[in-house]
């Protein structure tokens, strides 16, 4: 997968600094300020979680933070809506199985 470099309406992709994120243990790069889901799609990640009952893979669906289909475990917190959560440097993002597990007190 790749990003839209030249958008017909929005124009060329602006230059922004890159940040490092860790996706399922692998270091990856993301554009500062973009949403986690956008960064993952750009890296070619096919699914963000697997459902609890049928174990089907799910990814981005509504893209505006309503449907909760794109939730992942971010920095140890499960069910984070990745389509409306911006990436941060050093963020640890994990594919979520079912309802996920809390790995951090918040």
């Amino acid at each position: 997968m790749q990003r839209i470099i030249e958008h017909p309406v929005l124009g060329p992709l602006p230059d922004v600094p890159m940040v490092k994120i860790i996706v399922d243990g692998e270091p990856m790069e993301a554009r500062e300020g973009e949403m986690i889901a956008a960064a993952l799609i750009a890296t070619g990640k096919k699914y963000f979680r697997k459902t609890i009952k049928t174990h089907e893979p799910r990814g981005i669906y509504c893209g505006i933070g309503r449907c909760t289909d794109c939730v992942m475990t971010v920095n140890g917190i499960p069910n984070v809506r990745t389509c409306i959560t911006p990436v941060e440097d050093g963020m640890v993002i994990e594919t979520q199985m079912g309802y996920g597990v809390w790995k951090q007190e918040q």
């Binding site: 049928t54 933070g65 309503r66």
Partner: protein
């Protein structure tokens, strides 16, 4: 999937069109009834994706006008918000919704 009715209406709780139509056939004709029996609309998104779709299915199957089937009120919170936001002042998730 077996046929065209085995797809998910409620994506969070994985409830298919077939299951929803079955409970409507049993005589449950409101969104609340369907929710209580199938769990459709009780998942993470709390019916934001499927609520209106279920209303339309009920309306089509029972012949009731859609306005009659649609929920007239929504419970707090209307938008997804962390519980923490209720006890603390500060940045809110609401603007992201």
């Amino acid at each position: 999937m077996a046929d065209d009715k085995d797809f998910f209406i409620c994506r969070c709780e994985e409830v298919t069109l077939r299951e929803i139509e079955e409970v409507i056939d049993e005589g449950y004709h409101t969104i609340d009834d369907v929710k209580r029996i199938t769990r459709a609309g009780m998942g993470l998104c709390q019916g934001r994706s499927c609520g209106k779709v279920i209303a339309r299915i009920i309306s089509q199957k029972t012949g009731k006008p859609l306005e009659e089937v649609l929920q007239t009120s929504y419970r707090f919170p209307v938008r997804t918000e962390k519980l923490k936001a209720l006890e603390e002042e500060g940045p809110s998730d609401a603007e992201n919704n």
